[in-house]
Amino acid sequence: MIGTSGAWIILTGALVAASCGFLGCFLVLRRLSLLGDAISHAVLPGIVVAFLLTKSTTSLPMFLGAIILGLLTAFIVQSLAQGGVQGDAAIGVTFTALFSLGVVLLSRFAYGKDLDLDCVLYGEIAYTPFDTLLLGGKSLGPRAAWVNGGLLLLNVLVVGLLYKELKICAFDPEMATAVGVNVALMHYLLMGLVSVTTVGAFDSVGAILVVAMLIVPGATAYLLTDRLEHMLGIAMGVGAASSVAGYFVARSLDCSIAGAMATVCGGFFTLAFLFSPSHGVVTRNVAQRRLRRRVAQEDVLLWAGRRLEAGQTAAFDARDLSRGLEWLLPDAAAAARRLTGDGLLAARGEGFSLTERGAAQAQELIRRHRLYESYLDDLGYATDHLHAAADRVEHHVSAEMTAALDVATRFPDRDPQGKPIPRSGS
């Protein structure tokens, strides 16, 4: 049982995660990931000044103060970058200066007043169910859920309307300028959305969750797809899933909900980093190992096939193989064992020999190799370089390509060195 308040927390978290993840995709693509972190710190002086002017901790003036500072941050960062400061340094200088200013203002003028750094700046998602929105005396549920739901709607709406323009700005700003898109306007629009979303979200759920959700889901999605539409969807999904899972982790461990959501999201990223079908580290490693193993097996078959062709004894042991292919003995033995397992070699006491299926496959590989040599020869490739080139390419020549090579070289019987080219299926 999660109860009503638990459900509201999960819903609020999911809404924050979805709207941040959505915008985060653009930030990741534009290499501005840390802007969310910068904005969430830089708004402090706006909040403090709003408090000092109104002498109250009501949320509207503070919200406005924060949004003004958020937009100002985006503007200063952009101006500094145009004034010759490196992009990342521009972000760093701006937010640390503004945050320091905020801390000084806070401790100098608002000390001991009813303004606590922790609770104003870093809302806690666990308390969201207690701050409900009342309409005509009826509770409509937590204010945070409505605010963040509204923000999500706003983001989806604005991005939906200007999708083409934002997309081209994200991938190729020069091209965007060339086709007449107002890149600066799009930039400020995006920054405006980020500011409003960041401020609106961290007021209710805490800065750390916002910062994490602006970066991690977008980066995770970036590893899983090459299409922006899919990336946006995946990022929102990852964000929402992290908030659900994070809530249960936090409940079972009795720890910070926002922290747990961020950590779980980091876990999702790690999974994508390791196992993404197209970009995962492990996935790519496995594919590479498979390729290496296949190449090794084909090399063994070719070697055994050529031996047979040369009229040597059919049986060979790992030592012969190691000498013939200039491999280490253990590698040769392992390759032969694997081929035996696949039914392409038959074990004979200490040694091995090609099975019928193995011999057929060896013939086919020899045919590919020699056809490719003939093809290169037709192209005028130096005769003494043919073998090495064919040796590398033969592993990547498909059956269709072999047939095409056969046609292109006019069905030769012998390769350029005069060795016979076996017929297919013979």
């Binding site: 290499r31 840390l34 760093g92 590893l223 922290g259 961020a262 999201c265 580290v281």
Partner: protein, 427 residues
């Protein structure tokens, strides 16, 4: 010595802040050029879970234990950043952000676990992460001095290698340095500076110390050695200023003041630095604008006379502005300027070029029209690389090309004439 300086606590704080400023300024220079300014920010946040884990494991609340925990977590974070950028298509900024937010989030989880456990309050932990320069004591400063020395010596010893890494990592790899190793070493030093600085100025402000002095120093020079010195100086100065300012008034936190001092120096550099500063850039722009306006005025007068067929024709400013479509106010200012230079004479509000003025205007017009021809026939002339800022076309194009351009001018009937009576007629 004023009495507020005689206080030994103030002296320790001052010494600590200066050392921190110098070492982070020096390191920040390399980080900035490596486009990793925000590394300090990320690693400072990444230290939180390390500090919490150290407390959870040992159960003690002592500085060395926290330092070791923070160091390990920082190194782990640095390793993650390197692994993510090397083995996936995630860029630096996102990798930094990932490590920052996920590590910090995990740290918050650990912090709340400690809070909710029987171990009691997490008091010492958040002080460590959020910094308290005013509480620095002798032993802390000794540790900081040692680390600052390590950072500075390592930077000096590996200056050549780091320089190579910053400007051309590919080349460094090519001549046999391991860029990964050097990068790792640089990160190790940054982690060291961050961990030491954390307790003095806190997470955000530690990030600032690695960015702002270096970014300010960048304005003053294009040489790395000068930049490193400047950044160290600016960092040290900010440390001193911030520490001193905080003793002057009550409730002025040291860390933020150091950052604000550094920011002020950054702003001064941004505005006043020679060549790269905003003022100097604005001055250059104004100079170019004024030169262009002067040449436009000369050309307007010349072409008016050329069209009238009389070199001594007089024209009023409004008339000229109307014919040439120029702004009359600006044109009037330029004509007044040319008059002062003795290139124009004005009688009854009507101006004409003096013989000296005609000669100058001829050069300007000829040059202008040659450039026009060049732009029209650039493709055919095959001169594909020119400096268009060139004052005179002869300085930047081969003689044969200029001759060809002159022929084209004649073909288009645009060749300017040098009037026959260039010698003073009568005074």
């Amino acid at each position: 010595m004023p009495d507020w300086l005689a206080d030994s606590n103030t002296q320790w704080v001052l010494a600590g802040c200066v050392l921190l400023g110098i070492s982070s300024g020096v390191l920040g220079s390399f980080a900035l050029l490596r486009r990793r300014s925000l590394m300090g920010d990320a690693l400072a946040h990444a230290a939180l879970p390390g500090v919490c884990a150290a407390f959870l494991i040992t159960g003690t609340r002592s500085l060395p234990v926290f330092l070791i925990g923070a160091l390990i977590a920082g190194l782990l974070g640095a390793g993650c950043i390197q692994a993510i950028t090397r083995h996936s298509r995630i860029k630096e900024d996102a990798a930094l952000g990932l490590v920052l937010s996920v590590f910090f989030g995990f740290g918050i989880v650990l912090l709340t676990l400690i809070q909710h456990s029987d171990r009691g309050s997490q008091a010492g932990l958040d002080k460590f992460i959020f910094g308290q320069a005013a509480s620095l004591i002798g032993t802390d400063v000794q540790v900081m001095a040692g680390c600052a020395a390590v950072v500075c010596i390592a930077s000096a010893a590996l200056f050549k290698e780091f320089k190579l890494l910053c400007f051309d990592a590919e080349f460094a790899r090519g001549i046999g340095f391991s860029a990964t190793f050097l990068d790792g070493l640089l990160m190790l030093l940054i982690v060291l500076a961050v961990v030491i600085g954390l307790q003095a100025v806190g997470v955000v402000l530690m990030a600032a110390m690695l960015i702002t002095p270096a970014a300010a120093a960048r304005f003053w020079t294009d040489r790395l050695d000068a930049m490193v010195w400047n950044a160290g100086l600016i960092g040290g100065l900010s440390g001193a200023l911030g520490a001193l300012l905080s003793t002057l008034a009550v409730r002025m936190p040291t860390g933020p003041l150091i950052v604000l001092a550094a920011t002020v120096m950054f702003l001064i550099s941004l505005v006043f630095a020679p060549r790269r500063g905003l003022l100097s850039k604005a001055a250059r722009l104004l100079a170019i604008r004024s030169q262009v306006a002067r040449e436009n005025a000369l050309r307007a007068l010349y072409e008016y006379a050329e069209a009238a067929g009389a070199w001594d024709v007089k024209v009023s400013r409004d008339e000229l502005a109307a014919v040439k479509g120029q702004n009359p106010v600006g044109l009037a200012a330029q004509i007044a300027r040319l008059e002062r230079e003795g290139l124009v004479v004005t009688h009854d509000g009507r101006s004409s070029l003096t013989p000296e003025g005609l000669r100058t205007a001829y050069e300007v017009v000829r040059n202008h029209r040659l450039w026009e021809m060049f732009l029209m026939y650039e493709g055919q002339l095959g001169a594909d690389h020119v400096d268009r800022d060139a004052d005179f076309i002869e300085h930047h194009l081969p003689r044969a090309t200029v001759a060809e351009l002159e022929r084209l001018l004649r073909v288009h009937g645009l060749e300017p004439e040098l009037p026959p009576s260039v010698h003073p007629v009568a005074a």
